[in-house]
């Protein structure tokens, strides 16, 4: 009889998810870094001399944390959602449904893998763009906190989307109509204070705004709202979504019939 090691299921699933995206790292890590670099080059070329968001901060420098966070969030979401939808459609999801993996192990493995990919992409964007424009890092702890919270939150959202969607176009709709608009309207390219009052109020209901704003605070020491408030809101959203996701996994929603 075999001796079963505790947590081996979790660590194996985590390792498998890491290997899955790493085997296609050109597509999952390098491509988003290149896309972010193109955003930076084009936007900075067009707007550098016309826009100053924070006093003493060049627009190109202002863009860097936003682009890094946007890439981090989108790739964290893509990691769990694409892995799950592929597994469901090809049928190999049964390889993780048959073993005695608890819903906690399942959740933690997928989310942690999203955090790893998200942080790798975010760091990659920052490292490459830093070659073009120097960006200060005034408070690395806030940078790390929002990077981890943001990637975990989007990884969790990716699990929900991945288990809800039954076809690739449903997942694409989730991404195109929810994730992308919320990301683009979160202050990646502008400060909330540059918006009309109505849209400033609307932005306050977008959790992505707090992720970007808190993350950017870690670089410049300046933000639209208090980083502590952002931390509480993002952390609260993560807790609520994690609870919801664990509940779905425990029920076997769209996974076990």
């Amino acid at each position: 009889m075999h001796k079963f090691a505790p947590m081996a299921g979790f660590s194996t699933l985590f390792r498998k998810e890491i290997m899955r995206f790493w085997k296609v790292s050109f597509q999952t890590v390098l491509a988003p870094v290149l896309t972010a670099l193109l955003y930076l080059l084009i936007f900075s070329h067009v707007l550098e001399d016309h826009v100053q968001v924070y006093p003493g901060v060049r627009y190109t420098a202002f863009l860097v944390p936003g682009l890094a966070m946007m890439s981090l969030l989108q790739n964290s979401f893509a990691n769990s959602s694409s892995s799950l939808i592929q597994s469901k459609i090809t049928g190999n999801i049964i390889f993780v449904l048959l073993p005695p993996l608890s819903h906690f192990e399942f959740f933690a493995a997928y989310v942690l893998a999203c955090v790893v990919r998200g942080v790798m992409v975010g760091f990659g964007v920052f490292a490459v763009t830093a070659l073009f424009v120097p960006v200060p890092v005034q408070n690395p702890l806030w940078v790390a906190s929002f990077a981890l919270l943001g990637s975990a939150l989007l990884g969790t959202l990716g699990i929900i989307a991945g288990i809800w969607a039954e076809k690739f176009d449903q997942l694409a709709a989730f991404q195109n109509f929810i994730i992308v608009p919320l990301t683009f309207l979160s202050g990646v390219f502008y400060s909330m204070h540059s918006l009309p009052p109505f849209w400033q109020e609307v932005s306050r209901f977008n959790p992505f705004f707090y992720m970007i704003d808190g993350f950017r605070y870690g670089f410049f020491g300046v933000s639209d709202v208090s980083p502590k408030l952002s931390f509480v809101i993002v952390g609260g959203c993560l807790l609520a979504l994690s609870f919801a996701t664990l509940s779905l996994l425990k029920r076997g929603y769209k996974l076990r019939h």
Partner: protein, 300 residues
């Protein structure tokens, strides 16, 4: 001794379609059991519920004494399933696939057994091939290996030889027989009824979600179908009195008659003699499971 699989009053419906209706079934430890039925009879649904991939609407199921709902961790550890569909993860090699599957079951250092399983299934020289590069038969072998990687006491094979060449089929059955000999309980679903007849000591048949037959293979063969008498007359046609026994119209001049038992041969021959006919060829055969299956499935 507790049964390896214990199923009590299990029902399952998908909308208005009743996939399983009040199934009761015990499979003792060490048995080689065949679960047969036409497509859509409920075999895969029952297997899915046993494996925790689906949930029953009513009833209880236990695997090695572990309830599949309330003690799912224990029951899943005791069961290995070879799925019917040819599924694989295209990102990984054969070895990685087996190592992951082993890890999911909580086994960290399992390479010796993985190597042995690969060797037994003739996968060793494909160990570092990506799954996409394998033929259908090879992928099927990997599915079998995945089901065995944690040495489960209960192994469920859902049509494992569909689309598989003769060589693998032989090798696979030799391996599965050995596992059964070592005490593993085997549940097999297959459309190759000759395989079920040769391998399985007991047979259950599902029809429209109901268990319509459950007995030893020997008893089913004995009870549900008599002897088969194949004969050709030297001249003339078979007497009308024997027409009710004919199960297959003569195509090459040969009649196939189904008898209740061997003693009935004498009365058949007597009827032929009474009509001044002579037998040119005669062969008495044992019915096979396929005939039993057709007979049972044909009933209302």
């Amino acid at each position: 001794m507790q049964p390896a699989i214990e199923i009590r009053g299990v029902s399952k419906a998908y909308g208005s379609v009743r996939a399983l209706v009040d199934i009761d079934l015990n499979i003792p430890e060490g048995e080689f059991f065949a679960l047969l039925g036409p497509n859509g009879a409920g075999k895969t649904t029952l297997i899915s519920i046993l494996a925790g991939l689906a949930r029953a609407d009513a009833g209880t199921l236990k695997v090695m004494g572990h309830d599949v709902v309330t003690q799912s961790q224990g029951s899943r550890r005791c069961i290995g399933v070879v799925p019917q569909e040819l599924v694989f993860d295209p990102f990984f090699t054969v070895r990685e696939t087996l190592q992951f599957q082993s890890g999911y079951f909580g086994l960290r250092r399992n390479d010796d057994w993985i190597d042995e399983v690969m060797a037994r299934l003739d996968l060793t020289n494909r160990a570092d091939f990506n799954m996409r590069a394998l033929s259908g038969g090879m992928k099927r072998r990997v599915l079998v290996a995945q089901a065995l990687v944690h040495k489960p006491p209960v192994i469920i094979l859902d049509e494992p030889t569909a689309g598989v060449d003769v060589e693998l089929r032989q090798g696979l059955w030799q391996f599965i027989r050995q596992l059964n000999g070592d005490g593993h309980t085997i549940v097999l679903t297959t459309h190759y009824l000759d395989e079920a007849e040769a391998l399985c000591s007991r047979v259950g048949m599902l029809k429209q979600g109901k268990l319509v037959a459950l007995d030893s293979t020997h008893n089913l063969l004995k009870d549900y179908s008599g002897a088969q008498l194949r004969l050709r007359l030297a001249q003339g046609v078979l007497p009308a009195a024997l027409a009710p026994l004919v199960t297959m119209a003569p195509t090459t001049g040969e009649y196939l008659l189904t008898l209740h038992d061997y003693a009935q041969v004498e009365s058949v021959l007597a009827e032929i003699r009474k009509n001044n006919l002579t037998v040119a060829f005669m062969e008495l055969g044992q019915p096979d499971l396929e005939e039993v299956f057709v007979e049972i499935m044909g009933r209302d």
